[in-house]
Symmetry: C2
Subunit: 215 residues, 2 copies
C-alpha cells in the first residue's frame, strides 16, 4: 500500500529543521549545513545528489538508501524549491539542483505562485500546486503509480501533513548541533494526540536516527 | 573552578522535559517515566536513588556516575520538590524522596513560599529561596565549598539559568519517546546567541547523550 513518508529529515538538538536566514547563499539557513553532516558523507548522497563516487556505506548510508527506495513522487514546500527571498518566484528559477535534479519522478511543489510544469532531465518534472496540501497529496499519489509519496520538507509542510494525520512514517535524523532559531518541527504540535509514536532509534557518530509511525 | 552544571536531564524527541499533567501520582507528567528508561536501569540510579543492588554499568551508567560527582549543592525548581497541585505548599511535605533524599548536600529550592530549612537524613538540607535565581546561585555556590552546583531542573528553572548564560555545562539525554506536550526546553531560547554549542554526543539503545557547553 502506498504510504506518505518523510525520510532523512534532519533536526538540530533544539528541534529546528533549518537554520535562520534561509536565502540563495544559505539555502539550509545559517549553520544548516552542519545539520547534514551524517548525510553528506554517504555513498548514496554522493551518488544521487552530487554525482560522485566514494562515500560511507554504514548505518547513515543505509538510511540514505532507504530514503530513495520505492518513492514514486515527492511533495516539497515552496522554500525547498526556491529561496524565500531572491530569484523565485521568477520563471527562470528551476530549483536548487541544476538541470538533472535528484528526484527522477514527479515533484509537486506547494506554492501560491501559479506556473506551468517544468520538465527537467532525468525524469524529474516539477508541478506547482496552488490549491493546498490535500490536492498535492491526491495528485502525487496518482502520479506515484502505487509507490510511496515522500514529503521532502520543509518544516512547515511536514507540520501541515502531520496535523492532518496524513504522514504514515517519518524517519528523522537528530544531529548534535544547536541552531538557536529557525523553524521548529514539534513546537505546538501534539504528536501523541495526533497518534504518533517513536518506533525505533539507532545512533551513529553524526546523528540519532529515529522512526516515527502511527500507533 | 566551581561550575554550574546540568546533568542527566532527559528530553523527549519532541523536546519536552516532562509530560503533561504533573501531579502527586505522576510527578514526571503523563508518560514521563518512559523518558527515564536509560537511567532507571543503571547501577548508579539503583544505588543512589532507590537503594538497591544490581543494574547496568555501561555508557548510560557512566553518565549517571558523573552526574553525582563533585556536586557540592543543588538548585531545584519548585515543581522538582513538590507537586504543582496537591500537598505542597504544606509544611508536612518534605519532597518526593522520603527521609533520606539522594542529594546528601544542601539543596536550594526556588519557590514563592517562605519556609524554614528542613534537615533531612544523610546530609541533605532543603533551603527555600524566595528571592530569585541569582540569590539561589550565590547561596548554593557558597554552600558548595568549591565543588560544582548542579541544577536539577525542571525545565523552567534550567531555561532561566540558560537565559542568563549562567549554566557552564549541560548533559542532556534524549530519549526515543514522544510526549506530545509539556514543558519545552528550547522553544524560544536561542542557544547559539546565548553562546552555547554541542561539544559531544554518544548514544546507547535508550538515549542519545549530548554535552552542551559555552563556546
Amino acid at each position: 500500500m502506498s504510504k506518505l513518508r518523510v525520510n532523512a529529515f534532519t533536526l538540530s538538538l533544539d528541534g529546528y529543521g533549518a537554520g535562520p536566514d534561509q536565502k540563495l547563499e544559505t539555502p539550509l539557513g545559517v549553520g544548516g549545513e552542519n545539520l547534514h553532516k551524517w548525510m553528506i558523507g554517504t555513498r548514496t548522497f554522493r551518488q544521487m545528489v552530487i554525482g560522485k563516487d566514494g562515500g560511507t556505506t554504514d548505518t547513515d548510508d543505509s538510511f540514505a538508501v532507504r530514503s530513495f527506495e520505492n518513492v514514486g513522487a515527492w511533495i516539497l514546500g515552496r522554500n525547498m524549491f526556491g529561496p524565500i527571498r531572491g530569484e523565485w518566484p521568477d520563471d527562470n528559477w528551476k530549483g536548487w539542483w541544476g538541470d538533472n535534479p535528484p528526484y527522477h519522478v514527479p515533484v509537486f511543489v506547494l506554492t501560491h505562485h501559479k506556473r506551468a510544469p517544468i520538465v527537467m532531465e532525468g525524469g524529474t518534472t516539477f508541478y506547482f500546486v496552488t490549491d493546498g496540501i490535500h490536492s498535492a497529496l491526491e495528485r502525487a499519489k496518482a502520479a506515484a503509480g502505487g509507490k510511496d509519496v515522500r514529503v521532502g520538507g520543509g518544516v512547515s509542510t511536514i507540520r501541515q501533513y502531520l496535523q492532518e494525520k496524513l504522514i504514515d512514517e517519518m524517519h528523522l535524523a537528530i544531529s548534535p548541533v544547536l541552531l538557536g532559531s529557525g523553524e521548529h518541527l514539534f513546537a505546538g504540535l501534539d504528536m501523541l494526540k495526533l497518534g504518533y509514536r517513536c518506533t525505533s532509534q539507532v545512533a551513529t557518530a553524526d546523528a540519532t536516527h529515529v522512526m516515527i509511525g502511527r500507533a
